[in-house]
């Protein structure tokens, strides 16, 4: 199980790194086409924005660990680990409730865009925006899992300090 999860995490990381690499190349292509060839490409900007949207929410869903996030954790770190567990459970439950509540209306909003295509590359915008739906599902699954793991620590016997951040 852990092996499969690790493999999937590695793949997700590689995909995120790949998106970033394609962004860098697209940028270079855009500069060369405009400045050197004096023949600007229209689609590079659109591709860059699409990739950026996907990078943020793909990596946000599958690659960014709790410790990678920007957090304001002065209070959290200073509390004893028993209290931290309660903190983590409450926070996780609130997050799950909020994201579940917004899920269906947001999916409605995204699928509404099936009638529209992007300006230059003519990609259906519901496909472009769908990554945000994926992000919501991933957050709900991750924080539900986190809440359960903290409520029933026996399955997670070794919650060390380090693992509080993963």
């Amino acid at each position: 199980m852990t092996k499969i999860l690790n493999w999937m995490k590695g793949m997700a990381d590689n995909i995120a790194a790949g998106i970033l690499a394609v962004m860098a190349l697209t940028f270079v292509l855009q500069i060369i086409s405009r400045y050197v060839l004096a023949d600007p490409l229209g689609w590079t900007v659109e591709l860059l924005l699409t990739l950026w949207l996907w990078l943020v929410f793909w990596a946000g869903a599958f690659c960014v660990k709790d410790s990678d996030h920007i957090r304001f954790d002065v209070l959290y770190i200073a509390t004893p680990s028993k209290v931290q567990r309660i903190f983590a459970v409450i926070a996780s439950v609130v997050i799950v409730v909020g994201f579940v509540y917004s899920f269906l209306p947001t999916i409605d909003y995204i699928t509404f865009y099936k009638i529209k295509k992007s300006a230059i590359m003519k990609i259906r915008l519901d496909y472009v925006f769908s990554i945000y739906g994926v992000f919501i599902i991933a957050i709900v699954v991750r924080y539900s899992w986190r809440a359960i793991a903290y409520i029933y620590p026996p399955t997670y016997k070794k919650i060390t300090d380090e693992e509080h951040y993963t």
Partner: protein, 431 residues
Amino acid sequence: MSAEFTLCLVVVFLLAALGAPVAIAMIVGAIAYLAASGQDVALAGEQIIQGVYNSFILLAVPLFIVAANIMNAGSISERLLNFCVAIVGHLRGGLGHVNVVSSLIFSGMSGSAVADAAGVGKVVIEMMTKDGRYKPGYAAALTAASATIGPIIPPSIPMVIYALVSGASVGYLFIAGLVPGVLMGIVLMVMNRIQSTRLNAVMEKKVPLRELPGITWRAFPTLMMPAILLYGIYGGVTTPTEAAAVAASYALFLAAVVYRSISWAELVVVFRQSAVSSASVGLVISAALIFNYIVATENIPTQIAGLLATWDLSTFQFLMAVNVIFLLLGCLLDATTVILVIVPLLVPACRELGVDLIHFGVIAVVNLMIGLITPPYGVLLFVINGTTKIPLASIIKEVVPFIGVLLVALVVMTAFPDLVLFLPRVFGYAG
């Protein structure tokens, strides 16, 4: 302030205090607000998606992160340091000066203080503490203080984010940071000189004049980077956003082709790490977009502007008050979050009082960078503590005098707007 907005703030602060990521806390707070005020909760997703999908200027952020990570993985920092030792190492306070000067040059290549501290900063601390030359706490404190210059001298990630929320020009913001950044370097070197007498610090052997051309030649391709970036932006070759891609490509060219100091496997790791950091910054930015939408519908910035107008402050008094607020917030909160959430509240007040938005932006970023080295929440102190294992308490003790001189520099920049605005005007800024 409406009851719904109070609920929103309570949810955000509660979740953040419980240790949840700031981005997630803001999104859930926004959903709570929309639900309580009977609006469509899909608005949260809409603002987030459209905000990210339509802000071309933000594309600079991931590429500046890639550039900094490549420079740190390749041996680019080391070459730069050898050059700096040859130039200022023999002065009293030698390696301390090397620390500041290398930060100044590195600032011209990277846009992030954390990258500065973790990359070139880590190497310079090793040099300073070797054979007991300097106390580890002092070396770490000076490194943290000089890393704050990183985002002041162009390029700069915080200034890109400030441009996004204020509507100010990235190009003028970048050039406006040059003089303040050098000023910060000078005050740090003065303080280092004063302290080095107390510490009885060792001076480095003077590098013979005939070795200087060789050392400069080896560092030359690295030293060209700031020049290339500035020429790109102000010579009209690239936009400030595209300059980020140039920085990344040039860094890759240096590390892979010129110095042959980065392997394929290392490069993959660099891109993986950069993707994760970019996404965590991107998530906070996108969450702040929906939060700012709510703040705007609640009319809060206009109310603040109205309130400040009744106090009848001069622009200098207003900016000094802003300094105090930002420094306090910077002690407790993350710099990106403050720029995204607090700055939009004050922009209408700036317009009302006739405060220049470029001047305001530079001051705001300098404030928040000083906030990165003020305890209890000083990200740079944590980063250096994490990479070098030098105890936090010893760093904090030594960093106080450096915070002091940086504050002096901040007051000077606040009192004399021309110091900041002179260069942008040379480049055609009309403000």
